[in-house]
Amino acid sequence: MNLSGALEIASCTDPGMVRSHNEDSIASDADKGLVVLADGMGGYNAGEVASGMATTVIITELQQLLEKTGPYGIDDRSGEEVAHQLLRDQIAKANTSIYQAAQSQPQYAGMGTTLVVALFYDNKMTVAHIGDSRLYRLRGDEFAQVTRDHSLLQEQIDSGVITPQQARQSQNKNLVTRALGIDPIVEAEIHDYGTQTGDIYLLCSDGLCDMVSDDEIGLALQTLSSNLKLCAQHLVQTANDNGGRDNVSVILVRVLRGYAAPRGMIRKMMTWFR
């Protein structure tokens, strides 16, 4: 599978104004339509280790798998979408690696990481996430959060204990209810979304959305959409100007053109030639 020219990707990551380490980790591959962002947690440098393992395992494994075939269609045996299966399997693999490292090495005990992955193919994307790293979408003038955090705060909002306005005042930010590498098995939330030419997707760690309001993020994306790199730097800078109390990472993905999967004859020919 090769999506070259279909996606433009820009990213920026920064330790912020307070922390000495950057425990966030990002990776992307525009040709494979793959972006990964992880926000690690754990003492010493264990957070970096966990997030680094997550992004490395997922991107390298998927790159190899996608080299062979595109994530199209439905798997015959399980009846599950191939893209979902690919993501689920690689996330499980990353989870096992982190979990085992945390179990076997005392200095890594208790490390874990949040994760958000997007895989673009066939004019859509599959998003998998765990924890409070987010994916947003800008389509036209409409800027909206796509993923829903796995956090205590989100659960409180859902159950009506507090309103989203009150949530900004809560002392219980940053308590995630799901993370990679903490338990032997983790369930990622996986959904499909259609993409359109001109869409801009933002993946970010909580260091951005805790420091910068959604309105301001949306404004930056709209205003600076013609220069993604600058936009990514601006978002990180705004988080730092507002205090930068956590690591800040952003990945921006713009859909430049359609990228429908090869179908019918062409596809058969391609498989035949392989």
């Binding site: 307070v18 926000d39 947690m41 754990g42 003492g43 010493y44 264990a46 957070g47 005392p106 200095q107 890594y108 005990a109 208790g110 490390m111 874990g112 949040t114 924890g131 409070d132 205590l152 409180q156 204990v161 507090i162 009150q166 900004r168 005042q169 809560s170 002392q171 219980n172 930010k173 940053n174 308590l175 995630v176 209810t177 799901r178 993370a179 903490i182 338990d183 909580d206 260091g207 805790d210 420091m211 910068v212 309001s213 301001e216 404004l219 930056a220 205003t223 600076l224 013609s226 220069n227 600058l230 601006h234 800078q237 705004t238 100007d241 507002n242 205090g243 109390r245 956590d246």
Partner: protein, 252 residues
Amino acid sequence: MAKLILSMDGLVLKEINLTKERTTIGRKPHNDIQIDNLAVSGEHAVIVTILEDSFLEDLGSTNGTVVNGQPIKKHFLQNNDMIELGKYKLKYVAEASAGQAQVADFEKTMILRPGASKVAPAGSAQAAPAAPAPASSAKNFGDTAAIQGTAAHGPASKPLAATPQKAAALQLLSGANAGKELDLTKPLTTLGKPGVQVAVITRRPQGFFITHVEGASFPIVNGKSLDAQAHSLNDHDVIDLAGVKMEFFFKT
């Protein structure tokens, strides 16, 4: 840890630490905070504390519960809230318990696991915040920099306003709209023609900055062409962008 200060007619009667998940308030003796007054119902209200957050809920009391002058059913308590039950007053104080150091740990992500029981080896992870959560315990996978996992309070927990003190504006010096003024009130203001040349002026705490966004040529400030870096604007700088001259100035 948050606490309540019970008082009547300005006289402090008692201080109650909110250590329990549920702290009940009422006239009957089995309540955690017993207020023996006929204006208070037998089971009047309850405060549910989840880690650092406390919620007050009226339990259908006869005379109701008032917070800061407003009758409430359910309320998310904020520092210095005044709860009134008849003649009695309860002040909610959420104080930063471990001093300034904890501010640094404020944004640290932690995981909350139902029934988490494993104890990490000493020296690699530290204990959860002091207040136990209902049927679950939070584990702070924080560093051992002797920082307790309690969150910061008060103004520190709100993002600072990213606004410089002075207001500024642009005045166009040439072109069809010469003489026009443009207030720079937004965090980002774009200038120029999309597809030809665009620059953006960002409003930051340190001041105003101009940055090139798109186009082959870069903006010119005071006769000097910029590079890709952001450029800090000074009072009465003259910007030349896509053939239009404009002056940047601070408003007094």
